[in-house]
């Protein structure tokens, strides 16, 4: 037993990250209601805060929270049964819950926590929900992120996010989106869809101005869980490697004044060595034939992680990987990143030509990193006024304060 406010706070935070997904997943199976399940788990954490402050952190916080959640789920089932004034099935379910604990399945099917979690993830990432709803629901219900932070991370207002979550849950209930593992014919496609959403969670955790350290840890836990839950999916391991290698650079991603530091300028001694080693080992197992967008992105991240500095990066290999990635996942942002690799291999003028080929894409019209990348290549090719104009254009488009601070810094250097 540990006492003291700080220890309680730390233990609670850690338990929230680690236990929230599984607690919601098992509770939703019993209650068949995502909102109700979230509430039970939320209540359990609220009571943990009170009880642990008084009695100290229990030896097994996970077991404590499971019991507290189960008690609330049981109460809820009893109350429902009374309200509906019949339904012996519900009463029976409540009794079974009291007797056997949470992991008893109402349908009597064999189950475990992992399967519960996969069912929850696949429910929240169901293709019948809008892409925004999938991300919001995964952040809220699976990762346990409060609605206000979901809104910040997704760059929307809290009422919009709350309405989006309500709409999604209503559709799940009204349209009968099942909490069930898909059959073998659909499994690959559904897991791939879930990986897309988890990738967005990872991206938000590292790039969104609304994110904090906790979100990165939650995203990483989720990526790890998917490797465990879908061991047959190479891309799940690719995504985990990508998440690990992206996370390894977190400490070097911002300068002391809070502005973005580009990969080329990062102090690589501040990269998390252990994470780099883990990421490289994961990528190693996916080589020599990386395929799939996450695996290829992880392989690119691994090339950067391996290099002692930007100049000594194996750029020809990075470019080959970008060529493969562009064939697999032809998006304008990938094409832009590939153009930067072209500049490293064949010089800034070749890079500028590659950028021109994607610059007209309307999807990049408001993307500040297009003019920012072009500005850098123009500067390196000696076109100072062109570079200044591009940085100013980028500054007009950039909204994130960290991005703006970086661009202002570049403008000052160039003008001074």
């Amino acid at each position: 037993m540990t006492r003291g406010g700080d220890a309680v706070g730390t233990a609670l935070e850690e338990a929230h990250r680690a236990q929230w997904p599984v607690l919601v997943a098992t509770t939703v199976r019993v209650l068949r209601d995502l909102d109700a399940a979230e509430e039970c788990v939320q209540d359990a954490f609220a009571s943990a805060l009170r009880a642990w402050r008084t009695d100290g952190v229990p030896a097994n916080p996970a077991a404590w929270l499971t019991t507290a959640t189960r008690n609330r789920a049981t109460d809820r089932l009893r109350r429902l049964a009374t309200e509906r004034r019949a339904l012996p099935a519900l009463v029976g379910e409540a009794e079974r819950l009291t007797r056997d604990g949470l992991p008893s399945s109402p349908a009597g099917e064999a189950t475990d926590e992992g399967e519960d979690l996969l069912r929850l993830v696949l429910l929240c990432t169901h293709p019948a929900l809008s892409p925004e709803a999938r991300l919001a629901l995964t952040l809220r219900a699976v990762c346990g992120v409060p609605t206000a932070q979901v809104a910040r991370v997704m760059l929307t207002s809290e009422p919009t996010t709350a309405a989006r979550l309500t709409r999604a849950k209503k559709k799940i209930a009204a349209a009968g989106i099942p909490l069930r593992l898909p059959g073998p014919a659909d499994r690959h496609e559904r897991v791939a869809g879930a990986l897309d959403v988890v990738h967005l969670v990872v991206t938000c955790a590292h790039e969104s101005p609304g994110a904090d350290d906790g979100l990165a840890a939650r995203a990483l836990l989720l990526a790890r869980a998917l490797v465990r839950l879908a061991p047959e999916e190479t891309e799940a391991r690719g995504l985990l490697a990508l998440a690990v290698l992206t996370g390894a650079r977190d400490a070097a991603r911002r300068s002391p004044d809070g502005s973005v530091v580009l990969l080329a300028d990062q102090d690589r001694s501040r990269w998390d060595r252990a994470a780099v080693a883990e990421g490289l080992a994961l990528v190693q197992r996916l080589m020599p034939h990386p395929a799939g967008r996450f695996t290829l992105q992880a392989a690119i991240a691994a090339e950067h992680a391996r290099a002692p500095d930007a100049a000594r990066t194996d750029w020809p290999q990075v470019l080959r990987l970008y060529d493969a990635l562009l064939a697999e996942w032809p998006t304008p942002v990938v094409a832009l990143n590939r153009a930067v690799a072209v500049a490293e291999v064949d010089g800034p003028l070749a890079g500028l030509r590659a950028i021109e080929a994607v610059a007209a894409d309307p999807a990049l019209a408001r993307y500040p990193w297009l003019p920012a990348a072009r500005a850098d290549l123009r500067r390196r090719s000696g076109d100072r006024s062109g570079a200044l104009a591009d940085y100013r254009h980028a500054l007009v488009l950039a909204a994130d304060p960290a991005d703006r601070a970086f661009l202002q810094g570049r403008l000052r250097e160039l003008a001074g």
């Binding site: 019948a128 009204a174 349209a175 009968g176 989106i177 099942p178 069930r180 898909p182 659909d186």
Partner: protein
Amino acid sequence: MPQYLFLLYDDESRWAAPTDEEIAAEMARHGAFAEAVAAAEGAQILGGEALQSTQTASTLRRDAADAEPLLTDGPFAETKEALGGYYLVEARDLDQALELAKVCPVSQGGVEVRPIWKIG
């Protein structure tokens, strides 16, 4: 068991003057859909009809529950793909319903799957 209305939207100009072959081919596709539903565990077709063209539709509009309705010629919404028919399908859940909607015959349009709201 949840029930779903499959709303079949299609380019109705196809059916302005169909040949016998076109009609036979369309009937065969609906036959195949019916077989797919029959083969799906727990699913069944509860009803379904084809609709006459939107040119034959009449719409009564009102802007309040107690307002006098205004009768107009034509469908409620003018769209390129028009509602041409429906099925009422009982299915285990949305996944099964969507699986069946994939084989529901539509040429140039789509199938909207709407869960039935069970009142009371």
